[in-house]
């Protein structure tokens, strides 16, 4: 975690959220949306973008207010800030992309309850200056967006034989992949895959410590 003073390594802050502390593949947080909305690529990407936006804005806001929030009431304040930004996202999406919003409106509203957003507000933004907090938000958000994109890409490809609505594979699709059960399969297998890559290529010998 970056200190209050001294030089901040922004690249490390951003990649931390994407690789080392990826919300879904590493921390296994916010698994509900990763299964509920990822049955096609479009929904997955839009959800990821919504979360990225909320995460960055919440981190910035909390960081701005960190000196005036009393520690005892910090959680209600965090929740108010998060729900404020989620409401903004929710209404913007309802206006801009009404057809997608019809399908996933409920899950956009559920961003309020995402453990990952509250966790970053509590662990990072409330202790750091604005710029690092923003970088952290971008990293975590992109990590989430990346996870949702990968999951929904494979689920749509295998479950429907299409990518972003365009049919690509013309064999019989594995219908289970776009059903909720297939979401668990996809998340589990991808989680195992990314952890395997991590252990195999990035932590030579370091895995013995765990």
């Amino acid at each position: 975690m970056a200190a209050q003073t001294g030089k901040v390594n922004y690249i490390e802050l951003i990649t931390n959220g994407i690789v080392k502390e990826n919300t879904i593949f590493k921390l296994a947080l916010s698994l509900c949306p990763s299964i509920a909305v990822t049955n096609n690529l479009k929904n997955g990407v839009l959800m990821g973008v919504a979360v990225l936006f909320v995460q960055v804005m919440v981190n910035i806001t909390i960081s701005l207010m960190r000196k005036i929030i009393h520690p005892r009431i910090r959680l209600p304040i965090f929740m108010l800030v998060i729900s404020g930004w989620v409401t903004i996202t929710d209404m913007s999406m309802a206006a801009a992309v009404p057809d997608v919003y019809k399908q996933m409106g409920l899950y956009i509203q559920l961003i309020v309850a995402f453990a990952s957003i509250l966790a970053r507000a509590e662990m990072f933004a409330s202790k750091n200056r604005i710029a690092p907090s923003m970088a952290d938000g971008i990293g975590m958000g992109i990590g989430f967006l990346f996870a949702l994109t990968v999951i929904s890409f494979f689920r749509e490809l295998i479950g429907k034989g299409s990518v972003w609505g365009m049919p690509i594979v013309h064999t019989k699709p594995l219908l289970i992949m776009i059903l909720p059960a297939g979401g668990f399969f996809a998340v589990g297998i991808l989680m195992a895959f990314f952890n395997w890559i991590d252990v195999k290529f990035f932590k030579k010998g370091a895995s013995a410590h765990h």
Partner: protein, 339 residues
């Protein structure tokens, strides 16, 4: 001198001291053998296509186990026969005329996802063959419910498709079933011999019973699960199976059709996924029978054995904990001792 010394040496080893002749592989191969009569009957009724389906299923199961264990640097355990058994059970649970890729996907899911990813034989939570089938049924709902009429002849390759007895019972009722099979005696005989539409290995009651008697005689399975499973299902079928009135159902039709016998004797009794305490096994069987009949009579699917066993598999650890055997010699803590 050295020999005399050896004679007086005491060998200290950890328990268990009495070891049985049985090994995992011997049990697996015996169960596989006990399933052969039913498979042969399936091949006889549904022709070479059925043999092809079962063979692909077994080959894929063995290959996926071998390749997966090679990839993750584990000792290959193909020779213990569990992969062959899983492949055979999955093949027996498929409709005879499925395309070739169906058993391949099913076996892969059964072995790699259900068994190996959970840690291999002995660690799987669910029955691998049944998960394979559930995966297929959900993924390919149309292909997995095309049933062929039994032909009993190897020449007639393009047999007619038809509904299973349970399918008829669900969609059109008992009257239609009687119309298809003639009278009640004929219906029972056909079901008993296995001359009906259904999955490859589930149709022939007599062949399945021969295998089951062999397993019971050798002590590889105990009576607890099959008896409680079948009797619960029979009682529920008798009470609630009839249209309109209570106690008007036909338990025999329900017991002999669908995968009831195959499930009760060969799938629910899987050592890994059923409770190991005998009292718990009875509860497990009752649960299976109840859920099967619930799905058959009230659910969306005509057949419920598969989902019933899978649901009860989840409860196995809980049941085992609930019926924990008393430690030998342990004193039950009563109020008097507490004083």
């Amino acid at each position: 001198m050295a020999e005399a010394k050896k004679e007086h040496q005491l060998i200290v080893s950890v328990s268990p001291h009495i070891k049985s002749e049985e090994t995992t592989s011997r049990i697996m191969w015996s169960v596989t053998a006990s399933l052969l009569p039913a498979t042969i009957m399936g091949a006889y009724f549904f022709g070479p296509r059925a043999i092809f389906t079962v063979a692909i299923s077994i080959i894929t199961a063995v290959l996926s186990e071998y390749i997966f264990q090679k990839v993750i640097n584990k000792k290959t355990t193909v020779s213990d026969g569990s992969a062959v058994l899983t492949g055979l059970l999955l093949g027996m649970n498929l409709p005879p005329s499925v395309p070739f890729y169906i058993p391949i996907i099913g076996s892969f899911v059964a072995i790699v996802i259900t068994k190996q990813l959970f840690g291999g034989l002995g660690f799987n939570v669910f029955n691998p063959a049944l998960i394979g089938r559930a995966f297929l049924l959900i993924s390919f709902p149309k292909l997995m419910t095309i049933w062929r009429e039994p032909t009993a002849a190897f020449v007639q390759l393009d047999a007619k498709t038809t509904a299973t007895p349970l399918g008829i019972l669900k969609e059109e009722g008992v009257a239609k079933l009687m119309e298809v099979f003639g009278d009640k005696i004929n219906l029972y005989t056909q079901l008993f011999v296995g001359h009906r539409a259904g999955s490859i290995g589930e149709t022939s009651a007599i062949a399945l019973l021969i295998g089951a008697v062999f397993l019971l005689y050798r002590g590889y399975i105990s009576w607890h699960i099959p008896v409680s499973f079948l009797s619960t299902a029979a009682i529920i079928a008798w009470i609630f199976g009839g249209k309109g009135a209570l106690f008007a159902g036909d338990p025999v039709v329900h017991l002999l059709s669908g995968g009831m016998l195959l499930g009760a004797f060969f799938m629910a009794t899987d050592y890994v996924t059923c409770p190991s305490v005998k009292k718990g096994q009875i509860l497990f069987g009752i649960g299976c029978g109840f859920l099967t009949m619930l799905i058959r009579l009230k659910g969306g699917y005509p057949e419920g054995v598969m989902f019933a066993i899978l649901i009860m598999n989840c409860f196995s650890p809980l049941i085992d904990r609930g019926f924990k055997t008393k430690v030998f010699g342990a004193i039950k803590q009563t109020k008097e001792i507490k004083k």
